[in-house]
């Protein structure tokens, strides 16, 4: 009983006092246990909070990855599609020019017209092929962008679930800490009351001895 100052009990105390002192000792141990539980719960809460913060940072990283990859892929897709549009316009124009040549009466002669028509048609075909390839590439890039988006969204959702679980665990640890704290506080109040009673018992004991001395 070194902790509560009841270390040396003078002789002449009744059995009730000794019993009360033992109970006080038990209460004291229980109080310490409550404090230990409270501290452990607080530590658990701190750890869950840290995990929550970490998961939030992981989610931020996933979102930033999405920003860079999905955004870049989408911009690339758009740029390629613009190039495709330009190529298609050029090809269409060449085709139209070739068609016009067919119906035009040209002073240069049939061979020259055919040659020019051939060149224009070749250019149109080439342009069309390029436009188609670029269009396909744009579609592929767009699809990749969507896939990356879906993937990072899934990762972010997973992080959300982890954050929710850590929040719940932290809340639960917080309640446990509060309960243990309240229990320790009440136990301490009871301990004080019991100590006051024992003090009175000791005082009575001293009074008895004094009366005996006087008698």
């Amino acid at each position: 009983m070194a902790t509560n100052g009841i270390g040396h009990i003078p002789g002449g105390l009744g059995m009730a006092t000794r019993l009360a002192l033992l109970e006080i000792e038990a209460e004291q141990a229980q109080y310490q246990a409550d404090c230990t539980i409270r501290d452990a719960a607080r530590e658990a809460k701190r750890q869950h909070n840290e995990r929550q913060v970490e998961e939030m940072r992981n989610k931020a990283t996933a979102l930033m990855t999405q920003a860079f990859t999905s955004g870049a892929l989408q911009v690339a897709a758009g740029t390629v599609q613009l190039a495709s549009a330009s190529s298609r316009l050029d090809a269409g124009q060449a085709k139209l020019d070739a068609n016009r040549l067919t119906h035009a009466s040209d002073a240069r002669g049939q061979d020259a017209v055919l040659q020019e028509q051939y060149a224009l048609r070749s250019r149109a075909l080439q342009g069309e092929a390029t436009a188609n390839r670029l269009c396909a590439a744009a579609t592929l890039l767009n699809a990749s962008s969507e896939a990356v988006k879906a993937l990072t969204n899934a990762v972010a959702s997973g992080r959300d679930a982890d954050i929710a679980s850590a929040t719940k665990a932290a809340e639960s640890a917080g309640w446990r800490a509060d309960d243990a704290n309240e229990s320790a506080r009440r136990r301490l109040a009871q301990l004080d009351q019991k100590l006051a009673i024992i003090q009175r018992m000791l005082d009575d004991d001293a009074d008895t001895r004094r009366a005996l001395l006087r008698g």
């Binding site: 955004g71 897709a77 298609r88």
Partner: protein
């Protein structure tokens, strides 16, 4: 927790009690200092938390703005694609795929925003749209390109495709803006959570220090009562001893 001091030990008990009182005074000072320091810490963490939450709210607003921009860009891109497919007058499969892709993509987004369908259904619709668009693109690659006979068709198809491309570029930039704002928001929320946790820890320390002070003061009260009693008991004992010696 209070303490008990036994009667009848006179000056030794008094000395012990004095020493204990000194220790309690020191502990009180330590507890007071703890409260001061932890209160400062709590205030600081609270300020940090409020600041981080404010920044997170600002970033959320930015993300919302970029989300709107991305939606408009997406609608534009989809409309451009559909127009391009329609102007080519290509195979019905390509045109139908482009139109279905556009309808599913925009429909899913609009229905999700107006909360007609849940997130999962909206995602399903958007995936269907992406697949249809992809199919249309692939079909146009593998099938013979139609002969564009008129200037209007050529210009229409090219402009449609250019609009789709421009929309996609703008959408990509907006996606970057939106997601990076969301990421920054999340980082600020994490900072706020960290500050909140530290503030709570400081609050716990303050509560513990207050409880400690409370206990010390209670002990002081009980100890001074016991001291008074020891003092009077000691005097009584001495008087009784003197009387006994005198016979």
């Amino acid at each position: 927790m209070s303490s008990i001091t036994f009667s009848g030990f006179g000056s030794v008990a008094m000395e012990l009690a004095r020493l204990r009182q000194e220790r309690r005074a020191t502990e009180l000072e330590v507890a007071e200092h703890d409260i001061f320091v932890q209160t400062q810490e709590q205030t600081h963490q609270r300020e940090k938390q409020i600041e981080a939450e404010k920044r997170a709210a600002d970033e959320a607003e930015k993300a919302e703005f970029w989300n709107d921009v991305a939606s408009v860009a997406k609608y534009t891109a989809v409309a451009g694609s559909v127009a391009a497919a329609a102007f080519t007058g290509g195979s019905s499969l390509v045109v139908a795929g482009a139109i279905a892709g556009g309808a599913f993509t925009i429909g899913g987004d609009v229905l999700k925003r107006s909360e007609v369908v849940d997130d999962r259904t909206a995602m399903g619709l958007q995936i269907a749209g992406a697949v249809a668009s992809f199919g249309a693109g692939a079909a146009s690659f593998f099938t013979q390109a139609p002969e564009l006979a008129t200037q209007t068709a050529i210009v229409g198809s090219s402009v449609g495709e250019a609009v789709a491309g421009g929309g996609a570029v703008a959408g990509g930039a907006a996606t970057f803006g939106e997601k990076s704002a969301e990421s920054t928001e999340q980082t600020h929320r994490a900072d706020a959570k960290l500050a909140e946790g530290r503030g709570e820890a400081a609050r716990d320390h303050i509560q513990d220090a207050i409880a400690r002070m409370d206990r010390q003061m209670n002990e002081d009260l009980v100890a001074s009562r016991a001291l008074n009693r020891i003092h009077s008991n000691d005097a009584d004992a001495r008087a009784a001893l003197v009387n006994a010696v005198r016979g």
